[in-house]
């Protein structure tokens, strides 16, 4: 055995051990402390929504298509949606801007998708509205002049009064639920400096008038201004339960959406289906892989055995990379990975068939091994390149929202093919050379071991 092959064998062994450690299901993660440098990272398989259950919704600005959307407002809307999502307490949620008018939200393992969507879509626009001397009972729907330019101007009928918005939720510093003397929930709020200024001026000039508190254009309470309030602190009393008060506070805290949003696409996978899918794909994967291992062993004997070991190393390395990157594993992604196993053995099959031919033509074993690899290389390389090109095209296609499950397939297949170039060629060749060095004569005598 040449020096280079021994070095390669050692390298393969190290890579395999590392990959096996990373792929191990209960991996403790990387926790390192080297002087000032600390690495504290969990290594976990990231499962897609189709495997763990959950929901994906695509929200779009609910404004006429010709309406220019200010990127700043869209960014603000995204941040607000994100904080609302975080308040839902879901693990690993995704909130992402898509294009100029869309926000993608992924909620893995969500139990009540209906309520979640309702929370996300709520505009949460809190207004303090000057209704003059008029008392409007809670529940009344009104029109205000806040952001009036956003809505269709011609839709406003003159018969309905438009009230003036004094302040909005944007002027709020904090809000929390408190209880008054009779034990009823009230919402205590504090305004920021600018808000406090406006508030103190308005209350000073309008004593005796009503200042209604309006949430999403619905009156929740209509207190009368009894005295000027200079410090920007106040209370909202109304006929709401503790839960309602809490949800209003949440909306106030996490802010109002500057842009109304609508759901244009929903995908919800129940936890049952996710669980079934994952069990079944794992079983399918094991059965498929086992069948390939057995086939290769029977059909190609010793080289087949070596290819099998290379294939297991291949699977370990690929799984390790999927976990480390991390690539979110989806059902099509698993299919892509399993198909790439097929591609990986294909390379070995090309090589071994070549070897057999060379042996049958009376060439020496060593020469046959080398020629087999050399001759098969062009075919392997060409076909892998074509798979990559296809994967690249599919990946781009998968970036379209409606075809997102295609992406996982393209990624795992491309990655698998890449790793297989290393394992099926370098690893198998090194193993074969090692086997030849250790028992070349025996192999040459017992040709059935080579399936010739």
């Amino acid at each position: 055995m040449r020096q280079r092959d021994i070095r390669l064998l050692v390298l393969i062994a190290i890579v395999t051990v590392l990959a096996a450690w990373v792929s191990w299901p209960n991996n403790p993660g990387i926790r390192l402390r080297l002087g000032g440098l600390t690495i504290d990272r969990d290594i976990e398989t990231h499962l897609g929504l189709d495997l763990r259950g959950g929901m994906r919704v695509l929200l779009e600005a609910d404004l006429p298509a010709q309406h220019e959307i200010d990127p700043e407002s869209m960014r603000a809307a995204r941040n607000i949606v994100e904080s609302r999502v975080n308040a839902l307490g879901v693990t690993e949620p995704v909130v992402q801007s898509v294009g100029t008018r869309r926000i993608l939200v992924e909620l893995p393992g969500i139990e009540d998708p209906e309520a979640a969507v309702a929370t996300l879509k709520e505009t949460g626009l809190m207004e303090w509205v000057d209704t003059g001397g008029e008392f409007l009972p809670p529940g009344t729907v009104i029109q205000t002049d806040y952001l009036i330019d956003l809505t269709d101007t011609d839709a406003v009928t003159p018969t309905e009064p438009i009230y003036h918005t004094v302040l909005t939720g944007a002027h709020l510093r904090t809000a929390r639920v408190e209880f008054d003397q009779s034990g009823l929930p009230v919402i205590a709020f504090e305004l920021n400096a600018e808000g406090a200024d406006i508030f103190s001026q308005h209350t000073a000039n309008n004593v005796g008038q009503f200042l209604s508190i309006v949430l999403d254009k619905v009156i929740i309470s209509s207190p009368r201004i009894s005295t000027a309030i200079p410090d920007g602190r106040g209370q909202i009393t109304g006929q709401f339960s503790v839960d309602e008060a809490r949800s209003i506070v949440l909306q106030l805290r996490y802010g109002a959406l500057p842009i109304p949003l609508q759901v244009i696409d929903t995908q919800a996978i129940g936890p049952t289906l996710g669980e079934e899918s994952i069990d079944r794909s794992v079983r399918a994967g094991i059965v498929g892989l086992a069948a390939i291992l057995i086939f290769m062993l029977i059909y190609y004997r010793v080289p087949g055995l070596l290819a099998d070991i290379a294939l297991i190393i291949y699977a370990l390395i690929t799984l390790a990379i999927l976990k480390l990157v991390p690539v979110t594993l989806t059902l099509p992604g698993i299919a892509g990975f399993l198909l790439s196993v097929g591609v990986a053995v294909d390379a070995n099959i090309l090589i071994f068939e070549r070897m057999r031919e060379e042996l049958r033509q009376g060439n020496s074993l060593q020469r046959s091994i080398e020629t087999g690899f050399q001759r098969a290389w062009t075919s392997i390389f060409d076909s892998n390149v074509s798979t990559w090109i296809i994967c690249a095209i599919l990946w781009v296609f998968g970036n379209t929202f409606g075809a997102s499950m295609v992406k996982g397939f393209a990624i795992t297949l491309a990655l698998g093919v890449f790793v297989s170039m290393f394992t099926a060629v370098v690893v198998t060749r090194t193993f074969l050379r090692a086997a030849f060095a250790l028992g070349g004569e025996k192999l040459d005598e017992k040709r059935w071991l080579l399936a010739v």
Binding site: T266, S277, F397
Partner: protein
């Protein structure tokens, strides 16, 4: 040596029958449903709810309830056992879906929601556009790739054209297959279906390249041998590899189809059928086509060969 090439006419006949059946299915589908293929909600927009009930449900009653709720364009399909259904209708909000599910539960008892998807018209249009772009890009990429792969062969052009014709052969077959399954089993062409087709095309070029590669190598090694003999030899030499590879790919795909999740079963079936046809057409369509061209008897494809060539 076993003469594979002699039965050329039979192979062309098989291909013609395969494609013909698909074409008839597409015509029938166009007449009956207004489109050659049944397109899924990924492209057409709409919603899909998959529910599992405790007991067997009556599809007719269910359809009536859903229609009454205002969804007149509904299709209800039983999957798995009789207690699991897929409901397809126009796009709806999640609140509407909950209301509808409640209606169904009053009739059929509690259910487990396995899946809910709703695709708005804008998204459907975007996916369709992206799909068309992907198909065109794949076609162009494969064309370039073929030109590149055969750069060193005499008459590279012919190899390229044959590989292209073979690609069209496979695409037509898969479209026909999609159409048949749409009519027979209600399969819908969705984004994954398209992915399976494009992937198969990628692999399909590989197969043809392996055989053509061998032909170009044998041309160099066996000067003086008749072209058809060389082709025949190359076919036999690569047959082992094709079968072995095919068997392995089959193991994986069969395992997923039989054991794996129902969500990707259709995807895998298309992939598997595609691969089988692709291997077949590489060996028994593309290669004989090339041989016929090189032999100069292109115009006599379907006539009995004048001389029984390649019996060496």
């Amino acid at each position: 040596m076993f003469n594979l090439m002699g039965k050329r006419r039979l192979y062309f006949l098989i291909s013609a029958v395969l494609l013909g059946v698909g074409a008839i299915a597409m015509i029938y589908s166009t007449l009956a449903f207004g489109a050659p293929l049944r397109m899924g909600i990924d492209f057409t927009s709409g919603s899909m709810i998959e529910l599992r009930f405790q007991d067997e449900v009556d599809v007719g009653t269910m359809r009536a309830i859903i229609t009454e709720a205002g969804f007149s364009d509904v299709t209800v399909q039983r999957v798995g056992g009789g207690n699991q259904v897929v409901i397809r209708t126009r796009p709806m909000e999640i609140e509407t879906k909950e209301a509808l599910r409640a209606d169904l539960e009053t009739e059929f008892g509690p259910s487990i929601e396995l899946r809910f998807e709703s695709v708005g018209p804008a998204i459907g249009r975007e996916t369709t556009r992206a799909a068309i772009t992907a198909i065109i890009a794949a076609g162009i990429a494969i064309l370039f790739f073929i030109t590149f792969a055969f750069r060193r062969v005499p008459n590279a052009f012919r190899y390229g054209v044959c590989a292209m014709i073979k690609m069209f052969h496979d695409v037509l077959f898969l479209l026909g297959f999609a159409s048949i399954m749409g009519i027979v089993a209600g399969w819908e062409m969705d984004a994954l279906y398209l992915t399976a087709m494009i992937t198969v095309l990628g692999f399909s070029v590989e197969d043809v390249i392996v055989v053509f590669d061998r032909i170009r190598e044998n041309i160099r090694r066996r000067r003086g041998e008749e072209y058809e003999t060389i082709v025949n030899r190359s076919l036999l030499e690569t047959l082992h590899r094709s079968l072995a590879t095919q068997t392995n790919a089959m193991f994986v795909m069969l395992a997923i189809i039989l054991i794996g999740g129902a969500t990707i079963r259709q995807f895998m079936i298309v992939m598997m059928v595609g691969m089988v046809v692709d291997s077949y057409s590489s060996l028994f369509f593309a290669v004989p086509l090339l041989a016929a061209w090189e032999n100069g008897d292109f115009g006599r494809l379907f006539r009995r060969p004048v001389k029984s060539a390649a019996s060496a």
